[in-house]
């Protein structure tokens, strides 16, 4: 079946360094991708999205890269801060319909002060 997975379940980075979180998806028909941040005890929070007609999108301190050839996307966080400590997961959709979304299991990012 379809799957979305992350390469590392945990990641530790020094404060101020850049973080890179990776995600792979299996369905080549997926054409819309989202990164979420989930802090402990809270619901997931939409960070940034990207459509399959793009290979890069930038937000505030975050960049998402999409490589459709190898079905891989990454989230880069610049100058990582303690407030960035959270679980990050990606989601893949076909079209923009959330009834068909597949979520990855998440990478737990810890920022070392």
């Amino acid at each position: 079946g379809e799957s979305v997975g992350l390469h590392l379940p945990t990641l530790s980075v020094q404060e101020g360094d850049n973080s890179i979180i990776n995600c792979a998806y299996s369905n080549s028909a997926s054409d819309y991708f989202i990164w979420y941040k989930q802090e402990s005890g809270k619901g997931p929070q939409f960070i940034i999205d990207i459509r399959s007609n793009m290979d890069k999108r930038q937000g505030q301190r975050v960049t998402v890269l999409l490589n459709k050839t190898v079905k891989h996307l990454s989230l880069q966080i610049a100058a990582t801060q303690p407030g960035d400590s959270a679980v990050y997961f990606c989601a893949a959709l076909r079209g923009t319909s959330y009834d068909k979304v597949i979520f990855g299991p998440g990478t737990s990012l810890s920022v070392i002060p």
Binding site: K42, F89, A91
Partner: protein
Amino acid sequence: DAGITQSPRHKVTETGTPVTLRCHQTENHRYMYWYRQDPGHGLRLIHYSYGVKDTDKGEVSDGYSVSRSKTEDFLLTLESATSSQTSVYFCAISVPSSNEQFFGPGTRLTVL
């Protein structure tokens, strides 16, 4: 948070008892969703709604039912709770204009 609340926030119940979780939103969104989140798994869709009285099954709907009699409320019912339904349940809405999805704070359910 798009005005999404969930109740209760925590519940402990016994196997075989019925349980209803409530999701309430204040911004008149049409699309609402119920997910469960378990360790090692991504969020999995249980049921969703695309309007009052309009609902459909998601990936893991067995053992769950939903109702939406008002735009603002989406109820998830476990008719006879089982230990495998111990999980954290999240409600969400989606906004077609921005295509963003917003989640509630979650309900931690433990079935003994």
